[in-house]
Each structure stands twice: as C-alpha cells, then as structure tokens.
C-alpha cells in the first residue's frame, strides 16, 4: 500500500530526471528500512507472545486436570456412599416386610388354629342340633384354610395332637355334612318341599359341592317344569278353545314352555349369584336345556301330529315334483291347469304359517335371552378375577355349543324349514291365482294382477321378518324374487308374445278403420281390440311393476333395519345381497317393457307413419313465388302429417302409462325423423322449397316437443340441420352455421358429416356442383 501510494505521489516530471529517480529511489529505500524495522519489532514480539500462550496452555491444562479428577472422585465416593446407604435401607425394609408377612402369617395361623378349634367343636354340635347352616359355615371356614400350612403348624406346635385331632374331626364332619346335606336335599326333593330344597341348595357351595348342588337343584326344578309342561300340553287345545286362539294353540303352548324355563333362570339366578357366585349359570342352563329340549320335542311331535304337518309337507313336495316334470313342457303360470292333484289350498296354510312364524320367533327370543344371561354371568366372573381370559373363551365356546347342539336348535331348524316350504308354496300359489284371476276394468291403464302379486310377495317377506331368522328372511326374499320373475314376468312375456295386432292387412284399410274408430271416440270391443288392450295393459303392468319392485326393496330394507337392529355386519351384508337380488328383478321387468315397446313400434308405428311421410316425395319442392303462396294457403304436407301423428299418439295416450307413452313418443320421433330424412334425400329443392321445408321441420319439432315431457330436441337435431342447409341463400352462408375447423355450429354440435353436407347441398338444384366441390369442410 505504502509503496503503491508512493509511486502514485511521485511526480511524472520527477521520473524523467535522474534526480527525480534518485529521490524516489531514496524515498523507497527509506521506506523499506522503515518497514523492515517495523517487521523486526513485530517478530521480536511474536516469540514473546508464543511463550506466553504456551505457558497459558500449560497452566490451563494443569488446572483442568486437577479440578475434574478431584470432582469426579468426590462424586464417585458420594454416589457409592449413597448406594450403600440405600442398600442398607432397602435391606432393612425388606427385613421389615418379611417380618410383617411372617407376623400376619403367624396371625393367620393362630386365627386358623383358633378357628380350627372352634370349628371342630362347633361343627359337631351343629350337626347334632341339625343347624346345618352353622355347620356348613364351619366347614367352609375349614376348607378355606391351607391344608399344607395346617399340617406344618401341627408339626411346629407342641400340642400336635390337638391340632391333628381338630383336623380329623373337621374332615369327618365335612364328610358327614356332605352326606347329610345330600340326603336332606334328596328328601326335600322327594317331599317336594321347596323351602327345604332351597335351604340345602344354598348349603352345597359352602361344602365345596358347587356342581353337585346345581345338578341336584336343577334336576329338581326340571321335574317341576316337566309336570307343568305336560299338563299344559295336554290342555293346550282346551285352553286355546276357551281363549278362541285355536289357530295358534301350539305356538301359545310353546311360548309358555319357553317362558317357564326362562322364569326358572330369572328367579334362581340371584340365589345362584349370592351363594355360588358368578360363572355357574351355564351349568344350570346346560341341565335346564336338556329338559327344555325334551319338552320341545314332545310339543313339536304333538304339533306335527295334530296339524298334519308331515302330510302337508309331502303333499306340497309331491305337487312340486309333479310340476317340475311338467314344467319342462308347459309354462310356469299355466301350471294351475293340472287339477287332478290332491292339492293343498294355500289359504288354509295361511294360519298354519302364522303359527310357525310365532313358534320360530319365540325360540329365537329364548335363545337370545339365554345367550345374553350366560355370557353376562361369564363376563362378571371374568371381571371378578375368578376366571382367566382362556377360561372365559372356553366358557363362551361351551355356551355356544350347548345352544348349537340343543334339540331346540334342531327343532327350530325343522320349523324354519317347514315354514319356508309352506311360505314358498303359499306365495307361488297365491301369485298364480292372482295372475289367473286377473281382471281389467275398461278404461283402466292397469289390471289387478300387479297390485295383487306385489301385495302377496310383500306380505310373505314381512311375515318372514316375523320369524326373527336372518336365514329365513333371506330365503323368502330370494323366493319372492324368483316368484316375480317366474310367474309374473312370464305372464307378461306370454301376453306380449302374441304381439300387438294392429289387425289390418291392407294399410289403406287400416287407415280408414283407424280414422273411424277415432271419430266414434270409442274403441270397439271385438277380439282384436281386446288383444290390443291386453297388450297395452300388460305393458303398463310391467312398467308399474318396475316401480313396485323399487318400493318393495326400499320398504323391506327399512323394515329389516327396524326388526333386526343389532345384527352383525356379516349378516347385514347377507341380507343386502339378497335384497339386491330382489331389486335386480327390476332389470328383467325393464327388458320386458322394452321388448314390448319395440313390438308396438314395429307393428303400430312404423307401418302407419311411413306412408304418411312418403307423401312428402310426391309434392313439388321447386316452387315459384306464386306456387309457394298457393301451397301455403292450402293444406300443407306438415299440417297433414301432424294431424295424423296427433291422432295416432292420442289413441295411445289414453291406453299407455305415462312412462310408456313417453317412450312411445320418443320412438315415434326417432322413426318419423329418420323416415323424413330419407324422403328429403329423394327430392330436389330450390330456394323456395328449402324455405318451406325449414318451416315444416320447425313445426314438426314444435309438435313433438309438445307431445312429451321428455326432450326430443336430440331426435330432431339431424333433421333441423338438413333444413338449415337446404334453406341457405348462398352456399357461402353455410359458414355462418358451420365452423369448418371443429365441425361445429355456433348453436349445436353438427350431426352431419362433411360428406352428408355436400350431398344435401346437391339436393338444391340452384347450387352449382363445382361450388359444392370447392367447399372446404
């Protein structure tokens, strides 16, 4: 820096003279010397500084080592000291604890010894005084003592013999007590002395005889149950008659039977919990269930015998078998034709089905009650800590197996099976009857069968909900769907199979006849008219059925949700799947409607409209201005066409359901526009002709739009666009309507291909072919 500044200061003149250079050189030399001196002093200081730093470092390290070592050593000693102390303290605490434990043990032993003495003295007197409660309490106290410790105590204590004696006495007493109590309970049972039975029943657990007590008591209760049930079964018919409930006599008896069993549980559970504690209910239920099974079996036997169940089942099975061999040749809904069979009246089954439903639902309720009570008992036992997780699981499994393997479950399955067979038969026969007795009142869109059939199916499914069985509900839903599909839809198909006979061979004749019927304002009732009515009514019925299926699906879903509030998701999915199957019957119905409408189209629309539209070809579309005004003054083509179409549609509007009529209008629009397009392509137009056509297409569009609530604009699109093209003043105007880049108009998407546009333009005789060819499309 200094040097550079020196050079900078040095004058330019100076450097041109040797003196100047010399002076500069001198100045530089001086400066160099100065710098060197400075450096020297600095360097000399450096050494001094380094030594100072070194000494500092050394001092620092010494200091550091000394203090840390000292501190850590101190800390270690403190810690070890503390730990020593802690160990000593904890050892003392431990000693204290063992001492205390021993003290309590000793205390307990002393108590045990005292009690042992007391018990051994007391028990004998108690037995002598027949005070079994006190005796049992003594035995219970004795049983609660640890036998090993007792023996050890005997070894320790000097008066060994007295302890051993007491133990012996108590052992003997316990044995004696057990015998006595057993005998006494048996006696009480024999004497049917309920108070004594309960008294001894309560003593059993104190003597450690849990299972025996429950077994003896429950079998006593069972004998009582059995005699009640037998009496009730014998009198079931008489009671029912008195109460005017003969139709559900067995359901009532069955209800009583199950209620009696449940009442036993209800009343005895508190005693059981009090004297036996939790976890013993299953033992009681196991024994009770055997009795319940036995009674159920007897009752069902009686029921089957008196209600002639087996005979009816066989009758139905035979009937179904005979039908299935026939049905290969004949159609489903014609099967009532075979009258030779000894056939069950479905109405007679109605009450029996109701009885079966009640019986099954009662059994379901019973099982639910048992399951809830027993699992609660097991849960309480688990919470009280008297049961491990493992034991709880085995107990619950054992409960399920008791339920599953019970005769009652078996009988329930039989009942459900019978119910389902009867229900299916009832449903099918009733549906067949409803279809057979179908009645239609003139002027009505629908006939009776749809209402009737859906009423029956709905009734059956609702009744199945009453069984409280998910399997049962699912099966009836499945059967309901099958029944609608097989019987009702087949009936529809058969009615539509013969087709819609317009009844006319010659179209001109058809036209005049049609006109006359319209003029008379009344449809003549002859055979072909009846056939036509049958056809349209069937179409309407099918349409209504699609709605009914949807409603049925929704109603039943709701009802199931209400009736089975707590079912698990698996069962729920099962039901949903079956309901989905029912709903899908709607698809079959829709195809029926569709195929029927197509038939109507090919026999009643197409042949009628074609000649009307073809007239377009016979009129002139090259008009001078004079001709144009003449044409417009007279009856134009479109006026004629609209009158005809209106007449045709009106004749159907009265006989078709709203939805079907809308479909018809759409079909008519499709056919009319297609045919019109064809007719146009066969004609030649000039400017005036195009003008007229455009007007005519517009009025057709207005007419069709007015005929239905659905949109027909789409159907008119092509025709409208053709009219636009033919109504152009000049070819160049096309660009106002048609965008060549994306082939779209400013208003709507173009339905015509460039080629089609060219061909249509060619229909205008005043457009030059070369101009059309030149068009960039």
């Amino acid at each position: 820096m200094d040097v550079s500044s020196l050079i900078g200061i040095g004058d330019a003149e100076d450097l041109e003279t040797p003196e100047g250079i010399k002076r500069l050189c001198q100045r530089i030399n001086e400066r160099e010397k100065q710098v060197n001196d400075n450096l020297q002093t600095l360097l000399s200081r450096k050494l001094n500084l380094e030594t100072k730093i070194d000494s500092c470092l050394i001092k620092y390290q010494q200091l550091y080592k000394a203090s840390i070592c000292e501190d850590s050593k101190k800390l270690t000693s403190i810690i070890s000291h503390t730990s020593d102390l802690a160990e000593k303290v904890s050892a003392k605490v431990r000693n204290l604890d063992t001492a205390r434990m021993r003290a309590t043990e000793v205390q307990k032993r002393v108590h045990d010894l005292i009690d042992l003495q007391l018990c051994s003295q007391g028990v004998m007197t108690a037995i002598k005084d027949e005070d079994y409660e006190i005796g049992a309490r003594h035995v219970k106290r004795y049983l609660s003592m640890d036998r090993n410790i007792l023996e050890k105590t005997a070894d320790d204590v000097s008066s060994m013999t007295s302890v051993n004696q007491a133990v012996d006495t108590l052992e003997k007493a316990a044995k004696e007590m057990r015998e006595i109590v057993k005998v006494k309970l048996d006696e009480a049972i024999k004497k049917n002395d309920l108070a004594s039975v309960e008294r001894f029943f309560k003593i059993f657990p104190q003597l450690g005889m849990y299972d025996e007590g429950i077994a003896k008591f429950t079998s006593y209760v069972c004998t009582k149950l059995s005699s009640i049930a037998e009496k009730e079964l014998r009198q079931s018919m008489e009671i029912a008659k008195a109460e005017k409930r003969t139709q559900v006599a067995y359901a009532d008896t069955f209800t009583n039977l199950l209620e009696n069993v449940l009442r036993i549980i209800e009343t005895n559970q508190p005693i059981l919990e009090n004297y036996y504690r939790y976890g013993h209910l299953l033992k009681m239920v196991k024994i009770l269930q055997l009795e319940c099974d036995d009674q159920t079996r007897r009752l069902i036997q009686e029921f089957n015998k008196n209600r002639l169940i087996n005979r009816k089942v066989n009758q139905i099975n035979d009937y179904i078998k005979s039908q299935s061999t026939q049905s290969s040749s004949t159609l489903g809904h014609l099967r009532k034709a075979s009258g030779s069979m000894d056939k069950l009246n479905s109405k007679d089954l109605d009450t029996l089905i109701a009885e079966l439903t009640i019986m099954h639902s009662r059994a379901e309720l019973y099982v639910k009650f048992i399951r809830r009570r027993v699992s609660n008992d097991i849960e309480k036992c688990f919470i009280a800590g008297d049961m491990t997780e493992e034991e709880k699981k085995t107990a619950l499994d054992s409960m399920e197996s008791v339920i599953k393997k019970s005769q009652l479950s078996n009988q329930m399955q039989e009942i459900l099976s019978t119910y389902l067979l009867f229900e299916r038969y009832f449903m099918e026969e009733s549906v067949i009857k409803a279809i057979g007795f179908d009645s239609h009142e003139t002027g009505q869109l629908y006939s009776s069968m749809v209402d009737d059939v859906f009423f029956i199916v709905r009734k059956c499914i609702r009744r199945s909900i009453g069984t409280q069985s998910v399997d049962g509900v699912c099966a009836v839903i499945n059967n309901g769907g099958a029944c609608i599909e097989q019987e009702l839809i087949n009936a529809f198909r058969n009615a539509l199979k013969s087709g819609y006979h317009s009844g006319y061979i010659d179209l001109a004749q058809a036209y005049s006849a049609f006109q006359s019927t319209i003029q008379q304002g009344k449809i003549q009732t002859n055979d072909s008219e009846m056939a036509r009515t049958k056809f349209t009514v069937t179409l309407n019925n099918a349409d209504k059925s699609t709605e009914y299926i949807e409603t049925l699906f929704q109603n039943i879903s709701e009802e199931i949700k209400v009736s089975f509030p707590n079912i698990d998701s698996h069962k729920k999915e099962m039901i949903e799947s079956c309901l989905g199957g029912l709903k899908s019957v709607g698809d079959s119905l829709k195809t029926v409607v569709e195929s029927g409408m197509q038939q109507l189209r090919s026999s009643a629309i197409k042949p009628r409209i074609n000649p009307w539209i073809d007239q377009f070809q016979s009129s002139n579309h090259m008009l001078t201005d004079d001709e144009l005004s003449v044409y417009e003054a007279g009856e134009t083509f479109i006026q004629f066409l609209i009158v005809q179409l209106d007449g045709l549609l009106n004749s159907f509007k009265k006989v078709l359901s709203e939805k079907n009529y809308d479909i018809l209008v759409l079909m008519l629009a499709t056919d009319v526009t297609a045919r019109f397009e064809r007719a146009i392509k066969k004609c030649a137009f000039d400017r005036n002709g195009g003008l007229v056509l455009d007007k005519e297409v517009r009025s057709l569009g207005t007419f069709l739009t007015g005929a239905t609530s659905w949109t027909v604009r789409d159907k008119m699109a092509r025709l409208t666009q053709i009219a636009i093209i033919l109504n152009l003043e000049k070819i160049s105007e096309l660009s106002e309507y048609y965008d060549t880049r994306n082939q779209e108009g400013p208003f709507t998407a173009w339905r015509l291909t460039p080629n089609e546009i060219r061909n249509i333009l060619k229909l205008r005789t005043d457009f030059k072919i070369e101009d059309i060819k030149k068009l960039q499309l």
Binding site: I320, S324, K404, N410, Q413, E414, L416, S417, T418, L420, L421, R424, D471, G472, C474, A475, V476, N478, N479, G481, A482, E485, E573, M574, S577, G581, S584
Partner: protein
C-alpha cells in the same frame, strides 16, 4: 367401496361333510379349519380377484361365495339361492361313495331351481385321502354326462382350490362378454374340463402318486 368390474355369485352345494366350507375357507382365508362344525343354513364370503381376460388385461372380479349347509333340513333355505347363482359348484367326497351316489339328487335340484344357463362345476374333494373310492374317470364321465366342468381338489393341501375359483371367474367373465351372442354354444361343446387338456394330465399324475389311484386307473 372397492373397485371391481364384475360381481358373480357362486353357490356351493353337495352332501354334508364333503368339505364345502373348507374349500371356501381355504380359498378366502388360506386356512384349513380343523374340526369344522356343520354349516347352519347358509354362510357367505367375498373375495376379490384379479383375472386376466382374453385380451391379456387384468380385471378385478368380486366373487360372492355362498356356502350352503348340506343337511336335509336346510334344503328349503339353500334352494332359494340357486336361481340367482352365476355358478354352482357341486361337491362330493372322493373317498365316500354315498356322497357321489347322491349327485343325481343334486342334479335334480339344480334342474328344478337353477337358471338353465348356470355354469356348473363338479368337484371331487379330498384328493389328499388315500382311501379313494371314486376313480377320476368316473367323476369325469359324470360331469360330461351332465354338461359340467370337472376338477378334483384338496382343501387340506390347497391343491386346485385357487384354480377352481380363478377358472370360474375367467369363464364367467367370458360368458358376460359373450352375452347377447350365443354363449350357450360354449356350454355344449365337448370341453368339460376346466383349463383344458393339461389339467387332465395333472390329475392323473396326482392319483398315480396316491397308490390307490393307480389301481383305480387300471380298473378303468
């Protein structure tokens, strides 16, 4: 909801104890449940598979498998499921002649309740057993006579179980695709084995290794 393109209902039927539930469990959960109690009424499981279609694309298919009780007293429940089934798997125990003898009754049930176009598969279960009573040929012939596919399986060892359901899914997709066309044709063709010829050879190698199977084959 998961994404799937097809939903098919498959119903298993056949005598009690032939192993319907085990077949379903093996397929849906990959386990062979020991000490399986008799099924009560019906049960159902769902499994979604990916199946390669004829165009080589993989498609998700949801199979709803209905496992029915074989015991007589549940017949009126199980019968109600036939109509809506897309495929019926009729199972017998190849080590138990009575279960094979009962097939005719089951065929009658199918004729009575099922859709005539339903896909039918005959399954001889328990190939793991060495006390075979029904030779492969006999099962095959029965299937052929009743216009059914045929397969032998072992739920215990998992043999052919996946194949059974995957082939059913593939066949049902094919049928769905041909719907509108005449899918009946396919049924009446002479192909009664799932997965064509290589399948038959695999059966035979299986039963030869079984020892008893060799006798059965030579007796035919």
């Amino acid at each position: 909801m998961e994404d799937y393109k097809f939903l098919f209902k498959v119903v298993l039927i056949g005598n009690s104890g032939v192993g319907k539930t085990c077949l379903v469990r093996r397929f849906t959960q990959g386990v062979f449940p020991k000490g399986q109690g008799a099924t009560i009424g019906v049960d159902f499981m769902i499994k979604t598979l990916e199946v390669e279609n004829s165009a080589g694309q993989r498609e998700a298919v949801k199979l709803q498998i209905w496992d029915t009780a074989g015991q007589e007293r549940f017949r009126s429940i199980t019968q109600s499921y036939y109509r809506s089934a897309h495929a019926l798997i009729l199972v017998y125990d190849l080590s138990c002649q009575p279960t094979f003898d009962a097939l005719n009754d089951w065929i009658r049930e199918i004729q009575e309740y099922a859709n005539p176009k339903v896909l039918k598969i005959l399954v001889g279960n328990k190939t793991d057993r060495d006390d075979r009573e029904i030779p492969v040929r006999v099962g095959e012939e029965f299937a052929k006579a009743h216009d059914m596919y045929f397969l032998e399986t072992s739920s215990k060892q998992g043999e052919n179980v996946e194949k059974l359901f995957y082939e059913i899914a593939a066949e049902l997709i094919e049928q769905a695709r041909q719907k509108g066309g005449l899918s009946r044709n396919h049924h009446n063709s002479s192909v009664t084995n799932l997965g064509m010829k290589n399948n038959i050879s695999s059966f035979q190698s299986n039963c030869c290794s079984g020892g008893v199977g060799t006798n059965n084959n030579s007796s035919n």
